[in-house]
């Protein structure tokens, strides 16, 4: 279970460019929930994810992951509990390393690394079968450099790497946004499969309201660094984009003007 309480974070404090990204944001994600997060540009979606991952430390508030207060911990000390897939398909893997070396990095996520060989013979079967599950023919290319793969293939491998070892939460930061529509559908389907099969707890930021309603078990909308609404279960069933817009207007008395949010 992840509990974020009253998170506040201001970038460039005390400068003319002062920008409050999180303004008292609170959210609790229960075990097994798949939360989709939407919001217009500057709503604080990415900052919230970065705060959960440890890439930015919040000014105040607390983040508790499975009972452990991680608020002040840097990214690498949270990595055993927090898995992550980035928006940039090239960011989640190392292009200079081979596919099996990338997977070997992921299989040790958050654990001690010693001086034994990184790519062990006993990993091979596991690497092959998990790559085969992607259906991209990568299981025969373990020794290829990651840089030879396409963006979609690399994002699929990133997803595999993030789900290779158990985590308390899987963070997905608009991880299909930089892909072409067909590849994006493939990666999204893969995401929901992996999350369902392994009953992962996940938080997916998306720019598309339609996508936010299609997948997951709960949808949260952020606006100006706070949660505007949070719907799950029966309330969420059958909702359409228009309903979300009405909900937003009712809550805020504002109209959504971010085109990409409506069209996506």
């Amino acid at each position: 279970m992840i509990t974020a309480k009253n998170l506040r974070l201001t970038f460039g404090q005390g400068t003319p460019l002062e920008n409050p990204a999180l303004r008292g944001m609170s959210l609790t994600v229960n075990q097994g929930e798949f939360v989709t997060v939407i919001g217009s540009n500057g709503a604080g979606k990415s900052t919230f994810l970065n705060a959960l991952a440890g890439e930015v430390l919040v000014d105040s508030g607390s983040i508790v992951v499975d009972g452990q207060d991680v608020t002040r911990l840097p990214t690498h000390k949270r990595a055993s509990r927090v898995a992550r897939v980035f928006q940039d398909p090239l960011a989640g893997t190392c292009e200079d390393l081979t596919i099996d070396e990338n997977l070997a990095l992921a299989i040790k996520r958050g654990q001690r690394r010693g001086l034994s060989a990184a790519v062990k013979a006993r990993y091979t079967d596991q690497f092959r079968s998990s790559l085969a599950s992607l259906g991209l023919g990568l299981e025969d290319r373990l020794g290829d450099k990651m840089g030879l793969l396409s963006g979609g293939q690399r994002q699929a491998v990133s997803l595999l790497m993030a789900s290779m070892t158990p985590s308390s939460i899987l963070l997905l930061d608009e991880h299909t946004a930089a892909l072409d529509p067909k590849t994006a559908r493939f990666v999204l389907a893969l995401t929901t499969n992996i999350i369902e099969q392994q009953s992962l707890t996940a938080l997916m930021v998306t720019h598309s309201m339609k996508q936010a309603l299609e997948v997951g078990t709960r949808t949260v909308m952020l606006h100006q660094g706070e949660v505007v609404f949070d719907i799950a279960g029966e309330d969420r069933k059958g909702l359409e984009v228009k309903d979300l817009l009405d909900l937003f207007e009712k809550q805020r008395g504002l109209e959504i003007t971010d085109d990409s949010l409506l069209l996506g």
Binding site: A53, G54, E55, P74, T75, H76, K77, A79, S80, A83, R84, F86, A91, G92, T93, C94, E95, D96, L97, E101, A104, L105, A106, K108, R109, G110, Q111, R113, G114, L115, S116, A117, A118, V119
Partner: protein
């Protein structure tokens, strides 16, 4: 052409600079950390080894101490960068400058002669090999041991974490790798190798001198880049082999240029020749394609 002594001399120095190239491969290529500390850690290794040797300490122990001193210098550079957030290049320049004073302090004077002292080479002269072949044999063995150890390390879990740190730090952190610690370890290892090279160089040349570090970074880079132009570094092993090959080729090219009377070059032209060679080594591999395209057009 080259005399036999000049040939062996070039290979001998080439093997030593191969160790420097290993260090520069670690910092520049693996960690993407432009580290100029080597200009200070090379004479540091020489100074530490020389002082201990004239104190009567076993030359291998003295050489080991030089490695540790080099690692310490590298760790200082990395700490300045990681903990105090000083730009990596600047951090290394600060350590390099500081080392000049420290090296003078260690030696107590600008240079120390080792000509009559027992060095790591002394017992090897009793093997019955020609005088100029002895250092080549010993330094070849040392370079090969360093190559194998470094190769095994780069393939280990920690070594892989270090490579990920240099290639994609954000991804490395997300995988739970303490990237700061990896930079400190890597730059320390790099300068440990350079300290080793300095210690061996002092013992083979018979002296440690406070100015012997000037331009080590350029020679190391020349070896690294030249080696990569000759041996395509597709794997870690090939990249390490390229370091050694590049360093020996570099020394041979220098020896040839200085020995060929018809070119008219003298010892004082060394740095100019180095700069030209580095430029060629950087430019030539990239121009292969355009040269090929030119001839392809011509033949149409």
């Amino acid at each position: 052409m080259l005399s036999e002594i000049a040939l062996y001399g070039a290979i001998e120095t080439g093997l030593i600079y191969g160790l420097v190239a290993f260090g520069i491969y670690l910092s520049f290529r693996v960690l993407h950390f432009p580290d100029l500390t080597v200009d200070g850690s090379f004479p540091l290794g020489a100074a530490v080894a020389a002082v201990l040797i004239i104190d009567g300490i076993n030359p291998w122990v003295a050489t080991g101490a030089a490695v540790l001193a080099g690692m310490g210098a590298g760790a200082v550079t990395a700490l300045l960068n990681v903990k105090l957030k000083i730009l990596n290049l600047l951090a290394s320049i600060l350590t390099m400058i500081a080392l000049y004073s420290i090296n003078l302090r260690i030696m107590g004077r600008p240079n120390i002669a080792l000509l009559s002292e027992e060095t790591v080479l002394t017992p090897w002269y009793e093997l019955g090999l020609a005088y100029q072949q002895v250092p080549v044999l010993l330094f070849f063995i040392i370079a090969m041991i360093a190559l194998v150890l470094l190769w095994r390390f780069m393939k280990s879990e920690t070594g892989l974490a270090m490579r990920a740190t240099g290639a994609n730090p954000r991804m490395a952190r997300a995988q739970g790798i303490a990237t700061g610690a990896m930079v400190i370890l890597g730059v320390a290892l790099s300068n440990g190798l350079v300290g080793l090279a300095g210690a061996l160089f002092a013992q083979s040349q018979g002296a440690a001198d406070v100015t012997m570090g000037v331009g080590v970074i350029v020679i190391g880079l020349a070896s690294l880049i030249g080696g990569e132009a000759v041996v395509t570094p597709r794997t870690v092993l090939l990249a390490l082999v390229a370091c050694i090959v590049g360093a020996i080729l570099y020394r041979l090219a220098i020896a040839f240029a200085l020995n060929a009377d018809f070119i008219g070059l003298k010892a004082q032209d060394l740095n100019l020749v180095t700069a030209v060679l580095v430029t060629l080594a950087i430019v030539l591999p990239g121009s292969k394609a355009s040269v090929r395209a030119y001839f392809a057009r011509r033949s149409q």
